[in-house]
């Protein structure tokens, strides 16, 4: 696996260690991109800061909490319109945003009084919310405000409230991943074990590393409930503050993300003896295997198999419809973090797409090991890419579509590559059987959008055809398909609702008796 030096990075030769092309017959022991290092000076990064990782990625999906940033108001930027961590309590945690709004005078004279007053004001303004998380920023960390002491003062004055302090200033790591680490360990140290949850099932799990992007969490929750499993807490999508204080009472930690999510599971394993099981949440095959694994652990495999059979029968004809039309299309899978390995193999196996490149902006070398293992030969793997490298890679690889974030996505559009938002989705949820079909539909709509046919033309040099009439996506996608696929009586495009989430709200689930777990197998 040769390292790859971008032409635009020839003046920064250290960058060569950060890109690798997956070669024939070569292994991870031949080459692996460096990762989770400080961005090389001279190279512009697309990373977020450690504060962003702690607050915006991990903390904010917790729903019944006042999320207060102790710092300049600008640090609260990512909120309602930029994050899609929705919740079932009217999206309280992203609808309102709170900051102490530190100014220069606070840097000089301290901001502890300001913090205390802001906390009291926030609780007064939101009397139905009794939980708060305070996030340190670069500004408040540099002046050394004792946030924990102030939090204790407020808890003494308002005994009904509970406050969590997250010390993860922006400079606390080379990327947002440093913040993921800090908030997870802080939560374990400060809050786990301080609340006794109500146990309602014989099978109880913590679902760790699920952030409820566009409703992923209720989809997965539905499967667990249909198996009679109580999801004690979801860390942290649509998660409740007190449920997450009670994580120590689960029988099993089901882990879906990396790598900071691994830390919280490992600590729960070490401190409370709760075992950890890693699962995949995306794609028919991996998701089915995941449900089987959780069910096998509890000795209720028949319940998982019933769900897998029902969901596969309902949605497979629709996934097949899209796979037939997406076969061979080239994808740059540039999601930022864990989705590089969540999706790398399964979009190839189940949607027939070819992954020509993977990248991670804040992932670790472990993420790259997983991603490179799962993508196809010849793929270009890049750690912490910058805009010029991204442009050069797309020029070299000529992808049909890119899955990435807003900033690189808008750059891709400028060079006429359609993009899907890999962080926040386009029309999610994308988890679950139905969600996976919705993802395929979004990919199809992006690749075959007639507007992209026009966008691909460069008006500075291309002839603009005047003889083209009205076209639809179907006319573009089906032109070379054989008749038996084009006219298939079984395959069909997505037939679910525009908003599928209401179908999951208000569902009731019967209590399911415990099945004796086998003590031995085979």
């Amino acid at each position: 696996m040769p390292h790859h030096l971008f032409k635009c990075s020839e003046c920064i030769p250290e960058r060569k260690q950060h890109a690798v092309i997956k070669g024939l017959g070569e292994t991870l022991a031949d080459a692996l991109p460096l990762g989770y290092l400080n961005t090389i000076p001279g190279s512009i990064s697309e990373r977020g800061c450690a504060y962003c990782g702690a607050k915006h990625v991990i903390g904010t999906p917790m729903k019944d909490v006042i999320h207060l940033s102790h710092g300049p108001v600008g640090c609260t930027y990512d909120t309602w319109q930029t994050k899609r961590y929705i919740s079932d309590n009217d999206n309280f945690q992203i609808k309102y945003t709170f900051a102490t709004d530190m100014k220069e005078k606070h840097i000089v004279f301290g901001a502890e009084k300001l913090l205390k007053q802001t906390m009291l004001d926030a609780f007064k303004a939101m009397p139905h919310i009794k939980r708060m998380t305070i996030y340190q920023t670069c500004a408040s960390a540099l002046i050394g405000d004792d946030i924990s002491a102030i939090a204790q003062e407020v808890m003494d004055e308002l005994p009904e409230v509970d406050v969590f302090v997250c010390n993860s200033p922006g400079f606390g790591g080379p990327s947002q991943s440093g913040g993921h680490h800090k908030i997870n360990i802080a939560w374990i140290n400060q809050k786990v074990g301080t609340f006794e949850p109500e146990i309602k099932s014989d099978y109880v799990i913590n679902y760790v590393g699920e952030y409820n992007i566009q409703g992923d969490q209720p989809i997965m929750d539905d499967y667990f409930k249909r198996m009679g499993i109580q999801v004690l807490s979801t860390f942290t999508g649509n998660g409740s503050y007190d449920d997450l204080r009670g994580m120590h009472r689960a029988h099993l930690n089901v882990l879906e993300c990396a790598r900071s999510a691994e830390y919280i599971c490992n600590e729960l394993r070490k401190r409370y003896g709760i075992p950890r099981l890693d699962i995949d949440g995306f794609g028919f095959g991996p998701l089915g295997a995941s449900l089987r694994k959780v069910a096998l652990f509890f000795g209720i495999e028949d319940r998982a198999k019933a769900i897998i059979d029902e969901e596969t029968a309902r949605w497979k004809p629709e996934l097949d419809w899209y796979a037939a039309r997406l076969e061979g299309k080239k994808v740059c899978l540039w999601p930022g973090g864990s989705k590089l390995w969540h999706w790398a193999h399964v979009i190839h196996d189940e949607m027939k797409l070819n992954v020509v490149s993977v990248y991670t902006k804040f992932g670790h070398q472990g993420d790259m090991e997983k991603g490179i293992s799962r993508c196809e030969q010849g793929a270009l793997a890049i750690d912490d890419p910058n805009e010029l490298e991204g442009l050069e890679a797309m020029d070299m690889l000529k992808p049909d579509i890119i899955f990435t974030g807003k900033r690189p996505g808008e750059v891709a559009k400028k060079i006429r590559v359609p993009y899907l938002n890999a962080h926040a989705y386009h029309n999610g949820p994308w988890k679950g059987w139905e969600g996976w079909v919705r993802f395929a539909r979004d990919i199809y709509n992006a690749i075959y959008s007639p507007i992209h046919e026009l966008a691909k033309l460069d008006i500075s040099k291309d002839e603009i055809p005047a003889d083209k009439g009205f076209v639809t996506r179907r006319m573009l996608s089906d032109v070379n398909l054989p008749d038996e696929i084009r006219n298939s009586a079984t395959m069909r495009p997505y037939s679910g609702d525009y908003d599928c989430l209401p179908n999951y709200m208000g569902k009731t689930y019967p209590y399911m008796e415990k099945t004796p777990a086998p003590s031995t197998a085979a």
Binding site: T27, L277, H364
Partner: protein, 116 residues
């Protein structure tokens, strides 16, 4: 025979690297435990030996082993024609190779980081 053994080990390895996640835990000690326990239990299942499930951790290793043994049987028909000793030999070779790629020969500089 050596070539055939190597080819078979590589087939099993390719499946694990492409489809599984358990071999890539974030610490070297954790990877060692995962590889050892899951592959041992997989070998026991493939050889129709008794698998002991004494602890919750054992059950976690076992569920990954169940799915792995099932996938191996489905995909690699040649396993059905091997004796127990031959299966054990192939699985030992797989274990050694996986340990090399994910631990001893791994280029992941964070595997031995004492701090998360």
């Amino acid at each position: 025979m050596d070539d055939l053994r190597t080819e078979r080990i590589e087939q099993l390895l390719d499946y694990i690297m492409k489809k599984c996640l358990w071999q890539f835990h974030s610490r070297a000690w954790d990877r060692k435990d995962q590889n050892e326990n899951i592959l041992t239990k997989t070998k026991q299942l493939l050889c129709d030996e008794k698998v002991t499930l004494e602890t919750p951790a054992d059950r976690c290793y076992w569920v990954d082993a169940v799915l792995l043994a099932e996938a191996f049987r489905e995909r690699y028909g040649w396993l059905g024609g091997l004796s127990r000793d031959d299966i054990a030999d192939i699985m030992q070779g797989l274990h050694d190779r996986l340990d090399y790629l994910t631990i001893t020969g791994s280029l992941n500089k964070e595997l031995t980081d004492q701090h998360y």
